[in-house]
């Protein structure tokens, strides 16, 4: 799978490749456009310049119909889960099957139950999304995303806000799914430990550029100060932690005068 693109503003002359059949983690500080990157792959956004190539298809130049066909081979797990709020858990997982296949009802039922079982939520099939906890709804969303056995699976921040148990389960699940179904996985996250533990290939973004890419070991041994700062979680370094502001002491001492004058 080749993947090249360039975009101004958020990304400038960004170019990266995602290897087929492996787990690629895309990491970087908040606001570097990791989610945007996934949307570009899914064809929801179009690059101003350059190209996005998925399995030989140039995504931005596909017709609407071709794009929807290509998307049937992609799965995406959104940050919020994005379950359809008016459907039950069962119907949510069945949704892609009903839309894209003409399988008989009992087969859909079996498939949905298999997918729900794989995320450990077979018992929750009759609940509505509003009755689920955040972690549960993300697992249901995962079951829905893999309902059609996609070739490319994208995860948008799957580890955010999960308790340690769910986190461990999720990490395992992602690994298992990737190996069992021979999927290509793109994982966007800033949770370093989890990413490094499951990824085959890691790519660190910052300032719209690829800082470094390679195996997890290579990343850990990287000499780049930005990468070191990010991985060790230090506030001071080349990546600014603070939003640009004038001098702190000055701001505090002269706050009254400045405030009135301003």
């Amino acid at each position: 799978m080749t993947f090249l693109r360039e975009k101004r503003a958020i990304f400038s002359d960004l170019s990266l490749r995602i290897p087929k059949g492996k787990i690629t983690a895309i990491m970087g500080p908040s606001g570097t456009g990791k989610t945007t990157l996934l949307r570009l792959i899914g064809g929801q956004l179009k690059p101003d310049q350059g190209d996005v190539v998925v399995d030989g298809h140039s995504v931005p130049s596909l017709s609407r119909k071709q794009l929807f066909e290509l998307r049937q081979r992609m799965g995406m797990l959104f940050q919020s889960g994005a379950l359809f709020s008016e459907l039950t858990v069962f119907e949510n997982v069945a949704f892609p099957l009903r839309v894209h296949t003409k399988l008989p009802e009992d087969m859909i039922r079996d498939l949905v139950l298999i997918k729900l079982e794989s995320v450990g939520l077979r018992g929750a099939r009759d609940l509505m999304p509003s009755e689920l906890s955040g972690g549960m709804s993300r697992r249901v969303a995962l079951a829905r995303a893999i309902a059609l056995d996609p070739e490319l699976m994208m995860y948008d921040e799957p580890f955010v806000g999960q308790d340690p148990i769910t986190l461990g389960v999720l990490v395992k699940l992602i690994r298992q799914l990737n190996d069992a179904l021979n999927m290509t996985t793109v994982l966007v996250s800033h949770d370093i430990d989890e990413c490094l533990s499951i990824a085959d290939h890691v790519c660190v973004l910052s300032g719209g550029k690829v800082l470094v890419q390679g195996s997890p070991e290579e990343i850990l041994q990287s000499d780049l100060s930005e990468v070191k700062q990010f991985i060790q979680g230090l506030p001071d370094g080349p990546v600014p932690f603070r939003y640009p502001a004038n001098d702190f002491a000055e701001d505090i001492l002269f706050a009254g005068k400045d405030g009135v004058a301003g």
């Binding site: 609407r64 919020s80 994005a82 379950l83």
Partner: protein, 260 residues
């Protein structure tokens, strides 16, 4: 110095761009008719949400408006000894103006704002985006059924409003104030024409349904996916929808009844 000029230009451009986007959405949603007919249940569900759930508010308002018309009409007409014309007055006021307009205003407030908030929330929680990623066009699946349901529901609500209003007028005029019921109905039947009054009212309400639902789904689809954005969009739906109804009502009235 040219700041204000630039601001005007910016506003105009953004309004034009919004109109363009809404026209695109409308076109795409109308093209989704085939999908809606194939998935008829989606349409039924939306007719339920926009229509059936609005029956109560439409019925109660229709009753009270009819009763007020009966009361006011009687007190004016009785001075001329023409209280026999009460039925005619109530029916014509309702059929030509009040039912289409008031039903559409209530519809914008009740169903329109709910549509905007629902679609907006689906957008904010990435449901629309994930639907797109599953390979389903949300315009066909989410927008089109709601648009068509609105166009079906409001004219029906408007007709119910008229009937309940005429009955409410009779309740006050005939039962309480003692207008002879033969002249209430007789005068009404002699002066109300089916094509000229009843059908024109229905046509009005179809136009209103179209515009109000269009505004509602567009505001929902186009909003900024934040809690502020949703509240601003629901307000816009009600304000723009109501203004559009009142403005269009004048145009339609001039076209339909303006020749005498």
């Amino acid at each position: 110095m040219f700041g204000w000029l630039q601001q005007i230009g910016h506003r105009v451009l953004s309004i034009v761009a919004g109109l363009g986007r809404s026209a695109q959405l409308l076109l795409a949603a109308l093209m989704g008719l085939g999908y809606v007919l194939k998935n008829f249940r989606l349409l039924i569900k939306q007719v339920y949400v926009t229509g059936v759930l609005s029956i109560a508010i439409i019925g109660v308002s229709g009753l009270f408006i009819g009763m007020v018309l009966g009361l006011q009409g009687y007190s004016i007409l009785v001075d001329f000894g023409a209280e026999d014309a009460l039925g005619q007055m109530v029916a014509l006021t309702l059929l030509r103006e009040l039912s289409p307009v008031v039903a559409a205003l209530l519809f914008a407030g009740r169903a329109g704002s709910a549509l905007t908030a629902e679609i907006g929330l689906m957008k904010a929680t990435e449901q629309l985006a994930s639907m797109e990623m599953i390979g389903v066009d949300p315009v066909k699946r989410v927008i089109a059924p709601r648009l068509y349901a609105g166009i079906i529901a409001l004219p029906l609500l408007c007709i119910l409003f008229s009937i309940i209003g005429v009955w409410g007028g009779m309740l006050v005029g005939v039962e309480w104030l003692g207008v002879f019921d033969g002249s209430y109905w007789g005068n009404m039947q002699a002066s109300v024409s089916f094509t000229h009054d009843v059908m024109n009212g229905v046509i009005k309400s179809i136009v209103f349904a179209f515009v109000v639902t269009w505004i509602a789904v567009f505001q929902g689809y186009d909003l900024e996916p934040t809690s502020e954005g949703i509240s601003r969009a629901t307000t816009k739906t009600v304000v723009h929808g109501s203004l559009a109804v009142l403005g269009l009502d004048f145009v339609l009235t001039a076209l339909m009844f303006g020749d005498f």
